[in-house]
């Protein structure tokens, strides 16, 4: 298989330039040339998200095209801070709209405020001393359901892959992913409760 990164539209000379720098170049010049370098970095991810929601390869492909057009239009109208999270939100909103048109049901549109980004993630516990953080995290881990605690421990602390965890525990891959996701979510909730107490 040809090297994925050496596409015609993403020449090697731009690979060292970050998304943020590309976006800044775009905002300085309003030249779509910079978006022509930035957007292809996300084509694969967008294709995956569209496929997940729409369950149809052709529709997913068409949707990615529409999302590109929407992104280019919107980027000319206002400044975007966290591009990856914003693009994800645009993609999800587009897919939900397509599903709504298909099924005739009203879906919730994801607003800017709902898109959680790493930079915006409210890690309030980080201002605490490390020992206190460890204590809170450790106590919260103990309060998780056994399957979630086991999978989170094997994944994050012992760095095992989903397959290895499935092999060791007897859970299916879907269950392993679900226990890790739910475990992480519950850890966050438990930590928040302790911080607010």
């Amino acid at each position: 298989m040809a090297n994925f990164n050496s596409s015609v539209l993403n020449p090697d000379r731009y690979t060292h330039i970050s998304d943020l720098e590309l976006l800044e170049q775009f905002y300085a010049s309003h030249d779509n040339h910079w978006l022509g370098i930035l957007l292809p970095r996300y084509t694969l991810l967008l294709l995956g998200v569209c496929m997940k929601y729409l369950k149809n390869e052709e529709e997913a492909k068409d949707s990615v095209q529409q999302i590109f057009l929407k992104a280019i239009t919107e980027l000319h109208k206002y400044k975007v801070g966290y591009f990856k999270s914003w693009l994800y939100m645009v993609a999800k909103n587009y897919c939900l709209m397509k599903l709504r048109d298909r099924q005739g049901r009203i879906s919730v549109e994801i607003k800017d405020q709902m898109a959680v980004t790493p930079e915006e993630d409210n890690n309030r516990h980080l201002h605490l001393e490390k020992d206190r953080q460890l204590e809170l995290m450790s106590n919260s881990m103990q309060e998780l359901a056994n399957e979630q605690k086991l999978c989170v421990t094997l994944f994050y602390l012992e760095k095992k892959t989903y397959q290895e965890i499935a092999g060791q525990t007897g859970f299916t891959l879907m269950q392993v992913k679900s226990y890790i996701q739910n475990g992480k979510r519950n850890l966050r909730i438990l930590l928040e409760k302790k911080l607010n107490a």
Partner: protein
């Protein structure tokens, strides 16, 4: 291990490595690299949902072809838009170009006349 415990709730803003993602989907990655992609998925909802969708595509070769086509179409669209904008600029400000043409014509005609008048 302490840092790993503290970082469970951190999300990832890692740069995309599309090749690694394709290799993961194709089952080509070893334990450590495989774990790295799965951690990326666990820490980033965009990547997680994307991988779930990508796993439903009928073939990895199709995927590659789709991505290449989409990128080509995007580039074509951007080029066309640029050309249309430049054509519009000429249409909207023709006097600038007419003035340049007239000045150049005067210079050329003036040069020819001067050459003829000189002995």
């Amino acid at each position: 291990m302490d840092n790993d415990l503290l970082n469970i709730l951190s999300n990832s803003n890692k740069d995309i490595d599309n090749q690694k993602l394709m290799d993961y989907l194709g089952g080509k990655l070893s334990g450590k690299d495989k774990y790295e992609v799965e951690k990326w998925m666990a820490d980033n909802e965009f990547v997680n949902e994307a991988v779930e969708g990508l796993q439903d595509f009928s073939g990895k070769k199709n995927l590659q072809a789709y991505v290449d086509q989409l990128n080509k179409d995007l580039n074509h669209y951007i080029q066309q838009k640029k050309l249309r904008r430049e054509k519009r600029k000429i249409k909207e400000a023709p006097w600038v170009y007419i003035a340049i043409f007239v000045v150049l014509a005067i210079v050329v005609i003036g040069y020819i006349m001067i050459r003829k008048l000189l002995p």
